[in-house]
């Protein structure tokens, strides 16, 4: 191939590659923009609560002591559920939560790494010993959902799951202390 012809080729090849890269760049930017847009307008973030807590003294603490686990509605109406993920169970093993209301789920592990998801929702977080994992969400549909441990935590990992009861406003009735446990069905 002559030198001149080769140079034209080379320029054309690089030109088309650049054009392609530009086109794809636009598409990639579009996908990223959607992430940024929903972060700005709807506050969508991955759960990133960098709140440290000593896993060794969790059972002595106030918040994650056995009696204080579960769902509680504060005087100002804020719904919080505190859940312990431990080898190989959740405490409590059934959690009642309201539908269509902002809720905050707080998880902690006294032993090894766990993780949770609630089927059919976007509730998902790792539960790393040393941190309080926190998810803010609003349940869009009601019913009985499954909350398994999704990170390998030992030989009993497969049997580690809890139930989540998402209750309508009529069914979601906390007691005088603002506490609520699962309804027996």
């Amino acid at each position: 191939m002559s030198e001149g012809l080769q140079q034209t080729h080379e320029r054309r090849v690089l030109g088309t590659e650049l054009l392609w890269a530009f086109g794809v760049g636009v598409l990639v930017t579009a996908t990223l923009s959607l992430i940024v847009f929903t972060a700005l307008t709807r506050g969508i973030n991955p759960p990133s609560n960098v709140e440290r807590v000593d896993p060794k003294t969790l059972h002595l603490s106030g918040e994650f002591a056995e009696q204080n686990l579960g769902t509680v509605v504060a005087a100002d109406g804020i719904v919080t559920a505190r859940i312990i993920a431990t080898q190989f169970m959740f405490a409590p093993h059934c959690i009642a939560l309201p539908q269509g209301q902002p809720v905050t789920l707080r998880f902690a592990s006294p032993d090894v790494i766990h993780g949770i998801l609630i089927t059919g929702t976007n509730v998902n977080t790792m539960v790393v010993p040393g941190y309080v994992a926190q998810v803010h969400t609003e349940f869009t549909r009601g019913g009985e959902l499954l909350m398994p441990c999704h990170e390998y935590c030992g030989l009993g990992h497969s049997e580690m799951w809890a139930n989540v009861q998402v209750l309508s406003a009529g069914e979601f009735k906390p007691d005088r202390d603002g506490r609520l446990t699962c309804a027996q069905r």
Partner: protein, 538 residues
């Protein structure tokens, strides 16, 4: 058989024997998880099997295949004897000892912690020491690759390093960077705990260090596939590489963008703030760059081949390609799997959307498609392509080769497409036995059985692959010398140092790692987080 060939074959056979064993374990795991095999295995057996499957596939198959392939490229692309052959054999022996140590520890049930470790769960120290030996062996390989390229450059001043070798060295450099995170976690945190020197572990730090390795390691596995796309596929198809420069840029992009992105594996973790997660998500978006460049440049190279063979029209060239050639067929199937895997990956990396599928079967499907699918099918094609050169014998028929590749593709798709769906439904990972009495889980049953069918096809394909290679050693048709590496449409005459070496890119990796990982790691050093008690599973 020559010494360098024996070296390559030793690496490849170790890799493929581990692969065949791991494929059997994989099929068994799918069986016990399905409604058909429910309650036939204990969790102890299951997690032992998962650990062995992960170690064999992700550490043994990949590392030894890549090392063997690297030695092969260094000899054939540079046309010079391998530097440091003694070191290479020593490293191989060290690696074999490491693999044996690790697998025996797993088989004794003293290391059921899965291949991604989960401190504060710790296995027997022999498990980690074995893995460290494997990594040490691979570091020797990295140095030998760098030395080979440097020697060639001294002998050929000013000439462009052949693309195959440039890419191989890119992978070696990438691997040196990649292993820093995992080695730091093992040596500084996990091994002292396993040996009983310390009783607690900073789990946030260990997860962060492992995330450093976790993304780039996949590109380490993937690069041989890309080397085949760029340097072997165009020749096998009867065309030329559309752009040599884009090839080099692709491998450079792999190097600089696969490292400062590991936090996207920790999007659901509580030990990092949103800010650094977003920075690394943005950088992750640029990891698509090498792949989108490739899915344009390689089809363009194939289009040259197809049109030279008489293909017409916008898509007519596709039909005109020599699909009976294993390399071409494997590449085509690889691209399809890369496409599905890539879409899954886009969803994984999408910041908040990660919550929808994190630690569900979706993710398992994603990395089986990318590594087990797109990359490993090219390992097959590479093996088929170079085995005649290593053994001096020719495949008698390509039919069993094509069967094997098709089986792998169909098996992989049948296994992973249901997994994607199950992941969206919330099927979570690392479960030894599902409770099919639960109505939701019971509703997943049929899809789990379909994916089990895919797993069995994969097992059949894996065994056929080993058979196809084994028969060649006793084959009767002598191999005829055939060129391997493709020429570029415009072979480079002279290249800027940036496209002929890695100095600049190493500086940029260092800078972006400092910016992207500096604070996320420093936070644990400045203010150590509360530690967790070591749980010894041995």
């Amino acid at each position: 058989m020559r010494n360098a060939d024996r070296l390559c074959l030793a690496h490849f056979w170790l890799a493929f024997v581990a692969f065949a064993g791991a494929a059997m374990l994989g099929a068994w795991q799918m069986w016990v998880r399905s409604p058909l095999g429910a309650h036939t295995g204990t969790p102890g057996q299951y997690y032992m099997s998962v650990t062995a499957h992960g170690v064999a596939m992700a550490y043994v198959l990949s590392t030894f295949f890549i090392m063997g392939f690297g030695y092969f490229v260094a000899v054939t692309a540079l046309h010079r004897p391998l530097s440091g052959k003694g070191w290479a054999w020593t490293a191989f022996v060290v690696g074999v000892i490491g693999v044996a140590m690790t697998l025996v520890t797993i088989a004794l049930g003293k290391a059921s912690v899965l291949y991604t470790f989960y401190p504060p769960l710790t296995a027997s120290p022999w498990f980690y020491i074995g893995l460290i030996l494997v990594v040490a062996a691979s570091w020797v390989w990295c140095v030998l690759m760098l030395v080979s390229m440097a020697a060639w450059k001294r002998e050929n001043p000013g000439r462009p390093v052949p693309l195959a070798m440039f890419a191989t060295v890119a992978n070696a450099v990438l691997w040196l960077w990649t292993t820093v995170g995992m080695a730091a976690e093992l040596v500084y945190q996990v091994l002292p705990a396993a040996l009983g020197f310390v009783q607690t572990i900073d789990v946030g730090l260990s997860r962060t260090l492992f995330s450093w390795t976790l993304h780039a390691i996949v590109y380490f596995w993937l690069i041989p596939a890309y080397i085949a796309y760029y340097t072997m596929l165009p020749r096998a198809a009867g065309g030329r590489l559309y752009s040599d420069t884009m090839g080099r840029l692709t491998f450079v992009f792999f190097l600089i963008y696969s490292l400062p992105v590991g936090l996207h594996h920790l999007l659901m973790d509580p030990e990092h703030g949103n800010g650094f997660k977003l920075i690394q998500v943005l950088l992750t978006a640029f990891v698509t760059a090498p792949t989108v460049l490739t899915i344009f440049t390689i089809p363009a190279s194939l289009e040259i081949a197809g049109r030279l063979r008489g293909g017409r029209g916008v898509f007519g060239w596709i039909a005109a390609l020599p699909w009976d050639c294993p390399m071409v067929l494997a590449a085509g199937l690889s691209f399809v799997m890369l496409g599905f895997g890539g879409l899954g990956g886009l969803i994984n990396m999408a910041y908040g959307m990660n919550a929808m599928i994190h630690n569900t079967s979706w993710v398992t499907a994603h990395f089986h498609l990318i590594y087990g699918g797109a990359a490993v099918i090219m390992y097959f094609a590479i093996a088929y392509e170079i085995w005649p050169r290593l053994t001096g014998r020719q495949h008698e028929s390509l039919v069993p080769l094509r069967w094997q590749l098709w089986l792998w593709f169909v098996g992989m798709m049948t296994m992973t497409l249901p997994w994607h769906w199950l992941g969206l439904e919330g099927q979570w990972r690392r479960v030894a036995n599902f409770n099919y009495d639960n109505p939701l889980i019971a509703s997943w049953g049929p899809l789990v059985i379909v994916s089990l069918g895919g797993g069995l096809l994969l097992l059949a394909s894996a065994l056929l692959f080993v058979r196809n290679l084994a028969v060649l050693h006793r084959g009767v048709v002598p191999a005829s010398a055939r060129p391997l590496y493709a020429l570029a449409v415009d072979p480079p005459q002279r290249l800027p140092a940036a496209l002929n070496g890695f100095g600049l890119w190493n500086v940029l990796v260092l800078l972006s790692m400092l910016l992207a990982y500096g604070f996320p790691i420093a936070q644990f050093v400045v203010a150590p987080s509360p530690t967790a008690i070591v749980h010894r599973a041995e």
